[in-house]
Amino acid sequence: MARRVVARAGEIEPGARKLVEVAGRAIVLFNIGGEFFALANRCPHKNGELCKGRITGLVSSPEPGVYDYTHQGEVIRCPWHGWEFHIRTGKSWCDPRTMNARAYDVKVEKGAMLVEGPYVAETFPVRVEDEYLVIEV
């Protein structure tokens, strides 16, 4: 287990995503309104690449003919079979008991902190004045 610096916070705009490779694992980073989340890039259903999916909301219905649209921008649909995963938790909508994308905790750290800490920086330089995304793998 190591805490790894995986990206500059500023390079992922709100609503955007970025695929990174961390210690041999493909991980997708998401920015939802300034908050950062990370999911393994493998769909737990049949291994589609989640980073290539569409980000949507969640449509639900308390009864036929009535629709709620919630979690806008917080759901990623697999580009293959369309499974829906909550980006914040990795939980699938249809089968949250067994079918969940691996979620990683993302911390935003100041460059000044990272220069000293027990971190493994990836392939880019860390500058004191920037903010960085750090996940534990």
Binding site: M1, G24, R25, N47, G48, G53, R54, W80, G82, R102
Partner: protein, 367 residues
């Protein structure tokens, strides 16, 4: 922490995947088939277009869940529609999964089901010619289905006879939604030609029959259309059996493509039950209906039913017959199956090999 999950190797004896994919959908355009169309038909298409047997001008019967019903990662980076570019198909499918052979089924354009019957014939001819240029010629792993103007049985038989024996073609292609049930005599010239010339008849789901998508009328949702293939293919297969097609053409082999197969045992049980009492109505049937299914019918896997308990799927496969099940990805469509993850892990290596490649190799005569 979690440990790395390794990709399961499909063939423990070697590292080769050994996959034959029995349902790939390359995409052609009208421009691609023009070199083989007479100027009369090029002008016709530019002026009038094609007219399918349905009540709307263009578009799908139901909106698909993804654009072009395709995997969102299957759009070629250089532009064009999914599966329109051989190089990208090689990168993403054929080379990536080390596919030995791929059977190509064509959805549009094909001329199949086009209401102007002379145009239907001309387009089917042009497509079959263009498929050698575009697909089976450049990549010898690819084997095309022969598209036929199926509403015209005699013209279809002629087209089959013209191409049978060429190594580029693996089977004859029909769609599940034709103007009449598949067992009707108008289609018999197709079965006669195919069985005499040693080609299986692949029946792929979809098409435009002009009939409602369910036998109770038009459904509201795409999910209903997707599930409806079970019932419509039950009707289609029942027709093939009870009309006596398999009695008339004992060498005929039918491949049901993309129809699922968990409904097959139920149909067999039901038909056998009734046949014991109603046999006199269809005396041309010499055997129980389920025996024709077992002897003549192959199925492709994708999108096979996903049972809650994996052993139930294996029991169904056992009924269908381990020598009758053919692996398919359905590339580039959104409900694609990955050969590494499509089957329960409890499937034995021997049966896995049968389903992934050996059954198709035998059926289609691939080396």
């Amino acid at each position: 922490m979690t440990s790395e999950v390794l990709h399961p190797s499909l063939d423990p004896a070697s590292n080769r995947l050994c996959v034959i994919d029995c349902d790939i959908h390359p995409k052609d355009s009208i421009d691609d088939i023009k070199p083989y169309l007479a100027q009369r038909w090029i002008d016709y298409l530019a002026t009038y277009g094609t007219r399918a047997r349905h009540g709307f001008q263009s578009g799908f019967m139901y909106p698909k869940s993804q654009p072009q019903a395709a995997r969102r990662d299957s759009w070629p980076p250089d532009g064009g529609l999914p599966a329109s570019n051989l190089k990208f198909m090689q990168d993403q499918l054929l080379d990536f999964y080390d596919i030995e052979y791929g059977v190509l089924n064509f959805l549009s354009p094909t001329g199949q089901g086009v209401q102007n019957s002379d145009l239907s014939v001309a387009m089917a001819y042009a497509c079959n010619e263009a498929h050698r240029d575009r697909w089976t010629g450049p990549d010898k792993r690819l084997k095309a289905s022969i598209v036929v103007p199926y509403e015209d049985g005699a013209a279809s038989a002629k087209e089959i006879a013209r191409l049978a024996g060429m190594p580029d073609y693996a089977q004859v292609q029909l769609l599940s939604r034709m103007s009449e049930l598949a067992g009707k005599k108008r289609y018999w010239p197709i079965y006669e030609a195919a069985s005499e010339l040693g080609l299986p008849v692949g029946i792929h789901v979809f098409g435009y029959s002009g009939w409602a998508s369910t036998n109770g009328g038009w459904a509201s949702f795409y999910i209903e259309e997707m599930a409806e293939h079970c019932t419509s293919c039950q009707a289609l297969l029942t027709s093939l059996i009870v009309e006596g097609v398999f009695e008339q053409f004992p060498k005929l082999k039918v491949v049901l493509i993309e129809a699922g197969f968990a409904w097959l045992p139920a149909l067999g049980y039901r038909l056998d039950k009734h046949w014991k009492k109603l046999r006199g109505e269809v005396p041309h049937l010499k055997r129980a209906p389920s025996e024709y299914i077992r002897d003549h019918v192959y199925v492709t896997t994708q999108p096979m039913e996903e049972t809650e308990k994996p052993e139930h799927l294996l029991q169904i496969m056992d009924w269908v017959g381990w020598d009758k099940i053919l692996f398919a990805t359905d590339y580039p469509h959104w409900d694609f199956d990955d050969p590494r993850y499509a089957f329960p892990t409890t499937l034995t290596p021997e049966r896995r090999r049968q389903v992934l490649s050996e059954n198709a190799r035998k059926l289609y005569g691939f080396a």
